[in-house]
Every structure is written in structure tokens, then in C-alpha cells.
Symmetry: C2
């Protein structure tokens, strides 16, 4: 067997059974090896941003890594932006980047580049396979690194390591280290701090602390001890909907965020870092809490967040039977009619959301109301891009749909962001995924118009307008989707949108609604 | 004035008057400054690969840098693959990458990343602006570095350097160092080597040595001294067509390349490096010349290649009036009819090529015949992606059309490559460019099917087929183009293709032909 076969065997032995791929010449032996492994599902993306973004979505829904297959430095470069988003979401991922045969590198052939240098900024772990004999240990190390704690790993596979003879082996399952034991001192200190400042304690949940079962524990603590629950502005994954505890999301606008946290004396972090301003603005703070706010970590990324919340509940003397205050019911609003608006879309999607759906929200400014309403919608998983790099939505939805074929995926997508990785629609058609994309077609980078105001520019001129608006020509998303084999239709009234959404939700294959607002 | 204004002023003072842009929040002050400079042409790309690829095409046609505007690390990352191509073409380029305010970086906000680390592998020069007072010297240094010798520069603009007060100044033109004087020793030694091995000397021309006037000198030397002229497999820019000297392109397949160079005892390099195999294959050589071939550099990138060729001609005693042997005439073939083929497209485009057209060839396997035929076509400029990273074609054609509004641009584009930066079609529509895109729609990564055979796989299975073919669903390029505002039509016969090409060549705005082969 050759090194490429050995690599596939290690992946399959560890239940890494999906490979999102865009191969090139230097990976042909790896492609040939994958071809000999029908149990590996190979999913082609027509651009590498689709490949890494799909692996991110897959990981968020399965808590397991997919493999990606990327072609040398430029192929990796095209995947970096969504690796950045994945890294910020703590998504496990194993990127396999093909490179020239090691002896070919000194010749500096056209595709030669510094792959380690490119990978490092967006990876938690990077290793170049030293030769065929190193394939098994390196791949096992990459798998382990992708999960303990979860993160983005990059494994560089030189062509001669792929085609060279590797000793036949029967790789077993990699034994993963369990998460560290709950830090009892942190639990006790956090409980004391909560008792000392009733009504003035906030708790931010992230990662697995944002799953329904952990949220319920956090909700019990919140109800019993008057702790305010928050989530970060960008949410990697949260289980939401009726009967689930809904933390308050910290707003993106910095003044609103600091106002929300103004009377917080103690901020407890569960699985994340202290929240900070997304961007700096002249004369505005970077931290969102007061400088005298006590910030303490109950448990960090890689810890058992559920167990830490249970331990805190016990330490605080809250019973497992503690009832939780849930939010109030869905607003009693008449269905909107006439010209379509962002808020009408939000209301319609929240009302019609199927049970157990997965919502990927990259609508940026356009779906703000959806998040609020979704607390009262059917139970669902909610995900956003987490690194601030746009172009994650279509790929992430694609990967989530591959991870969860029995669940409906709904992608709320901004037109500006959607264009970054529009090629992902083709993969949705190729894989016949149960997925509806709703494009908020406002034909502008709306967030940037807001940011121009934030820097004091109220009347913009021709040069700025041409950099911030997507009109002239308007994008025609129905044609774009059709071009990639995805059925699509356009709505500019509430009635038409509702009818299209009903139709899209009733089928099990991809559909795109261009919502003109 | 603020730092962003100072940056614009330095660019404009040095005739950098085009900015390809995809801005984000951290660049809002720079956008506002550009908005105050109507003499700067700001061109929006809906993805950063379009932005950097267009700057590459612009630079190749003008020998001058355009600026690009990229949003923090992920925005830069999206532009890296075409920076790689540009770097391999020695294209001057000034990438301006916005970053957080410097004091915001320690907070590790979501968009924070190691921008220097990302930029370095694909840049010849990187500098972070230290503050508002550093804007002018840093931008002047970036301009100088982009041209002496030509290359890709990256300037990181922290938000607080953009918004901070910069002393008002009237920046002048940067004084550029002239290229080094011609190396007389190299000229004499090259002449001796040419005299010593008649009929067994090859000369590879690259960069400005591939312009018509320099090619003519190389052709005079070739004719008078029995020197064989070559070009590399990937050509950054070459002036071709009737009445111009046409070097033999070194073939991509390694066996054909080594066979072509088998009897070359002396290889003279003019503006480039020794050619090497694009990829390594088990048991095949990496160098293309024999190990005992004498490889010598007449002049290197950054030297005055035209002057070096003149000096060599003089040293060899060749008269400036020396006649040149030109290639034979256009083949006397009947216009093909019936089902469309790659070769029929090549023949049609070569026959109908308008005078002084610009041809961007990213058709990979599909346009091989075009290159041969184009030696007899109307005079034109010919360009390819030079770093082996696909996705350069549509952006490069876009940038070339902006650089040369009075010339017709023809983009020969593979379907697989075209999808990488398909968003560039929108910029073509927005800027109303005189450009026709011909998509060779073979619905496969044809080159990779060939490479699978090269690694010994003749019958491929389901997994490989799904990674190498673009069918199921077939891409519909007419709809894709329509979705971005570009008129388009499909041809699957020679007659239909000819009619569409005539129509496209008769207008002055963008058109796309999906050539189904």
C-alpha cells in the first residue's frame, strides 16, 4: 500500500467518513486512494472556500472532523477565510493539503509556496508529513489534535509521501484524552461571586454550553440566583426555540453592547473569552464590560462545560428540579402583507420553521429580527459565521445538510456575503441536499453604509457608493441558482414569499428564494 | 488631513489611479478618503480573488501597479491565490490591507489574524504602517518596491493610522532607481557560448523580453546565429501574431518538454529562471534540460532586458538590419462545421481575432491549438495564469480591459477554472468592459483526468469521478452570466459559435459564449 492509502485508512478507522475536496495534480495518488475506499464520501466543491466552509458546518453539527482535500498553497489560500471562521468556532477539521514531492521543492516550480506559512495563521496545528512511514503517525496526530481540544488542523501531504510505499498496517482508533476534571476551585469561586452580587452577575455561554441540556442548567442557575445569561454576538451553534433557555445576545453596535453590560459587576465565562468590540472606533472602548467588572472563567474551551455547569448548580444549592423562567410566547402579530421586508421574512421563517431544523444565518444586517423571534419558534439549531469573514453561509449550510440528512437546513443569506462562495449552490444540487437558501437581496453592503455613518460620513459620493452598493447591475439570484442546478424563484411581496417558503419546505431537495427587499 | 487621505495622495502623485476594492469596516476611513478623490477609479469586486486578479491583469498591460483594497486577514487570504499568480508574473501591485486599530489587536477580536504571516508567502515586500506619520513614507516605499524590480507588495493599514492626523504634505513623485547597467561580462560570455555550439543553443525569453521589439532582436540573433527561441509553459505576457517572432513554447507534459530540449547544450535565460517540470512524477526528472546542459543568465528579472538583447546582438556582430525568419502562414483549412470542438474554437478565434486584441488564456487543456495558431493571427497580446493557480482568467481579463479601454479583450476560459472567480463577470458588467469570455464547457477537470492516467490509473471509480467531473448538474454558463448582468449565449455547433463570436466582436460591451464541447 502507498502513503495515500494509509492516510485514508487512518481517517476511516477513526470514523472520518466525509472528505470535502477540490483536488489537483499533486493529489492524484490521494484521489486514487480515495477511489479505492467507497466508504469515504467525497464531496466536490468548485472552490476551496466551499470545501473548508462545508467542513466547518459538518463539524458544528457532528462535533467530529471531516477531512478536506486542498491543492497546494493556492488551494489552501482559497480555503483560509472559512478556516478562520472555523477556528473561531472551535470546529474540529482535518485539512489535507497536497504539495510537490519533497525533492521537487528546491526547483521552485510555479505552484511552489510556503504552505506552512500560509496554514499557520488559520490553523491550531500544522504538520508536514515527513515521508510514507510518517503518514500513519502524522494522520493520527492530526485527528487527535482536531479534537483535543477541538480545532482546525492542517496536514501537508507531499506527493512522494502519498505515492511511496507505506508498511501495511491496520490502524486502530486513536485514544483521545478526556477533558480535564472540573476545576472545583473555579466552581467555588464563581459561586461565591454570584452570591455576592445578586442581579449584577452575567454569564456567557459558548460551545457545548449552548446546547439545550447545558442551557437548561444555565437557565436554572439564572432563575434561582438572578444571573443574567448572555451569548456572544457571533454564535457558533446554539440550540434554540420553544422550551429552550434563550440567552440574550450581546448586540453588535458597541454602544448597545456596553449599555447592556453596564450594570454587570461579575461576568462568568463558560467556554469562551471575554467579549470585546468587533471593531475599534475613535474614542470608543474596546472592552464591553466596565473596567472594574470582575471577569472569571468557570470553564474554558476544551473543558467539559456541561459538567462545569452542573457542578456550579450544585455548589449554588440549586436543585436539578429547579424550574426555569422561559421567554414569553410568539408575538401575536398579523401576517404582514404587501411589499416584502426583512422583518416580514423573519416573522414568516420563524413561524414556519420545521421542527428540528438547522438555521445558518449569514444575513448580516438583514435577519436581526429573526434571532429574537426564533426563541419562540420550533426547536432548532442556530449557527452563524464566527470569525467575521463573510462567505461562510452557503458552504456551512451545505456541510450541515450533509451531516444531518434527516433535518431541514435553512440558510439566511445576505446577497453580498452569498456571492463570496456562491459556487456552493452547485454542491447543494450535486448532493441533492434538503436545504433552502433565502437570499436577502438588498443589493448593497448594508452594514458598511452603517459603518460609514459610524465614522462620521453622512452623505457619500460616487466612489464610496460604487464600493458599497451591489446595484448596476442588480444580481439576479434566480439565474445564478439555475446556472448551478438549484431551483429558485423570486419574491417581492409577503404573500409570494410565504407561498415560496411553503413550497420549499414541502420538498426535500435544494431551493433558493431571492427575497427582494 | 488623516492618514487615509495621505495614502491616497501618495498613490495619485505617482499615477496609481485605479483601486480594485472590496472594503470592510476597518477600511471605512480609507473608503471615505477615496470618496474625496474622484480622480481615483474605484472598481468593486464581489470577491477578493477578483480584486487581486484584476490588479494583475492591469499591471501586465500597463507595467504599472494598481492599488487593491482588502479587508483584514480573511480578505487578504481570499486574494492570495491571484497574488501568487501575479508574483510569478512579476506584476507590480500595491495591496492595501486594512487592519484593526493597533491598540485593538491585543483584544483578539473575531477578525484578528496574523496579516503579516498571511501576506509574506505571496508578497515580495510587506510592511505594516506604524502610525499616521508613517503613512507617506510607507506608501512611497510600497510604490518603489512594487516597481524596482516589479513585484507584489502588501501594505497593512491599521485603522488608527488611517483615521489619525497626518501632517499635510504634497507628496511628489517617487524617484525610482534605474535598472542596473547591462552586464558586459555576461553578454560576452553568452556570445562565446552561442558561437561555440551552433544549433545547440536555446534562449528563453520572459517579461519585457517577450514584447514585440525585444522579440525582434531575439529573432535576429536566432536567425543569424542558429539559436532556438523558447518561452516558458506559462506566459505572463507575450506580443504575438503576424510579423512578430514566435518562440516555441516549452510543452507542459514532461516527456515532450525534455524531448524538445534534449539536444540543447547551452540554455540562455533572458528575464527568467531555468524551466523545470510543473510537477514531479515518480521516476521522471524535475529539470527539463540535460544535467550537462550549460545554463547561463544573460539578464535577470529587474534588468533592462531589451538593452541586454541589443548588447548581445552587437557582441555577436549581428546587424540591426538583420532579417528575421518568420513562421509560415495561417494554415489553409476549411472552416470546420457541425459539432463544436476545442480545435474549431481555436481556429475560429485565431481567424477572427481583431487587431491589437488582448487574449487571456485560462482554458487549460482546451485551447492548446489556439497558441500555435495565434502566431499567424492579427497582432495581439497574449497572457496566461503564471503560478498554476486557477481562477486567474476572468479577473485578469477584467483588469486588462480596464487598463486598455480601446482594445478588445478575449478571455479563453475553462469551466472549472472560471468557477473559481466567476464573480468577476459582475465587475465586467458594472464597468461595461469591451470583453468577450469564451467558456470551454467540457464539464470536467480535463487536466486531472490526464494526470490520473499519469499516475497509472486508467479506469476510475465513483469517488474519483465525482471529484474530477463537473456534471450532474451541468453548469449553465448562460444563466450564470445573466445572473451577473452579462449577456450570454450557448453554442454547440461551429456555425453557431462563429455567429456568436462575430456578434460579440462587433459590440463594445461584455458578452459570454458558452462553448459546449
Amino acid at each position: 500500500m502507498n502513503g495515500a492509502d494509509a492516510l485514508c485508512d487512518v481517517l476511516l478507522a477513526n470514523d472520518v467518513t466525509v472528505c470535502f475536496a477540490n483536488p489537483g495534480t499533486s493529489e492524484m495518488h490521494f484521489v486514487a486512494a480515495l477511489d479505492r475506499k467507497p466508504e469515504m464520501r467525497c464531496v466536490l466543491g468548485l472552490f476551496e472556500g466551499v470545501v473548508t466552509g462545508a467542513a466547518d458546518g459538518y463539524a458544528r453539527m457532528t462535533d467530529r472532523p471531516a477531512a478536506t482535500l486542498l491543492h497546494t498553497g493556492p488551494g489552501l489560500a482559497n480555503g483560509l477565510a472559512n478556516m478562520h471562521n472555523a477556528r473561531r468556532a472551535f470546529s474540529p477539521m482535518i485539512n489535507i493539503v497536497g504539495d510537490h514531492a519533497s525533492y521537487h521543492l528546491p526547483l521552485d516550480a510555479p505552484l511552489t509556496s510556503d504552505i506552512e506559512g500560509l496554514a499557520a495563521p488559520m490553523s491550531n496545528w500544522v504538520r508536514r508529513i515527513a515521508g510514507p512511514a510518517d503518514v500513519q503517525p502524522a494522520t493520527e496526530a492530526a485527528f487527535r489534535a482536531s479534537l483535543t481540544p477541538p480545532g482546525v488542523t492542517t496536514l501537508i501531504l507531499p506527493a512522494d509521501a502519498a505515492w511511496g510505499d507505506a508498511a501495511p498496517a491496520s490502524p486502530g482508533k486513536v485514544v483521545l484524552s478526556p477533558p480535564p476534571a472540573v476545576d472545583r476551585d473555579a466552581v467555588r469561586a464563581t459561586a461565591e461571586a454570584i452570591r455576592a452580587a445578586p442581579g449584577r452577575v452575567g454569564m456567557i455561554v459558548r460551545g457545548r454550553a449552548a446546547r439545550a441540556d447545558a442551557l437548561e442548567i444555565a437557565g436554572q442557575i439564572s432563575t434561582a440566583c438572578d444571573v443574567r445569561l448572555f451569548s456572544e454576538v457571533l454564535i457558533a451553534r446554539m440550540q434554540r426555540g420553544r422550551g429552550r433557555v434563550a440567552p440574550t445576545r450581546i448586540p453588535y453596535p458597541i454602544d448597545a453592547a456596553t449599555a447592556l453590560l453596564a450594570d454587570i459587576d461579575v461576568l462568568v465565562l463558560v467556554g469562551g473569552k471575554e467579549p470585546v468590540a468587533f471593531f475599534a472606533y475613535p474614542g470608543k472602548p474596546g472592552r464591553l464590560v466596565r473596567d472594574d467588572c470582575q471577569v472569571r472563567t468557570l470553564a474554558a474551551h476544551g473543558d467539559d462545560l456541561h459538567a462545569a455547569l452542573e457542578a456550579l448548580r450544585d455548589e449554588l444549592g440549586v436543585k436539578p428540579s429547579q424550574q426555569v423562567d422561559f421567554a414569553t410566547a410568539f408575538p401575536d402579530e398579523a401576517a404582514p402583507s404587501g411589499g416584502l421586508t426583512e422583518d416580514a421574512i423573519a416573522l414568516s421563517v420563524a413561524r414556519k420553521l420545521p421542527d428540528n431544523a438547522i438555521v445558518c444565518d449569514e444575513a448580516v444586517t438583514s435577519a436581526r429580527r429573526f434571532f429574537a423571534l426564533s426563541a419562540f419558534a420550533a426547536p432548532h439549531d442556530y449557527m452563524m459565521g464566527t470569525g467575521g469573514s463573510i462567505g461562510g453561509g452557503i458552504p456551512m449550510a451545505t456541510g450541515a445538510a450533509i451531516a444531518c440528512p434527516d433535518r431541514k437546513v435553512i440558510n439566511l443569506e445576505a446577497d453580498g456575503s452569498g456571492m463570496y462562495t456562491v459556487q456552493g449552490l452547485w454542491t447543494q444540487a450535486r448532493e441533492n441536499l434538503d436545504l433552502v437558501t433565502i437570499v436577502f437581496s438588498n443589493r448593497t453592503y448594508a452594514i458598511l453604509h452603517g459603518e460609514m455613518k459610524n465614522v462620521g460620513v453622512n452623505a457619500i459620493g460616487e466612489n464610496a457608493r460604487r464600493m458599497l452598493d451591489l446595484d448596476h447591475p442588480a444580481l439576479d439570484w434566480v439565474s445564478l441558482a439555475k446556472g448551478m442546478g438549484v431551483e429558485a424563484a423570486r419574491a417581492d411581496t409577503c404573500e409570494r414569499f410565504d407561498a415560496l417558503l411553503d413550497s420549499a419546505l414541502s420538498r426535500r431537495w435544494p431551493f433558493l428564494i431571492e427575497a427582494v427587499i
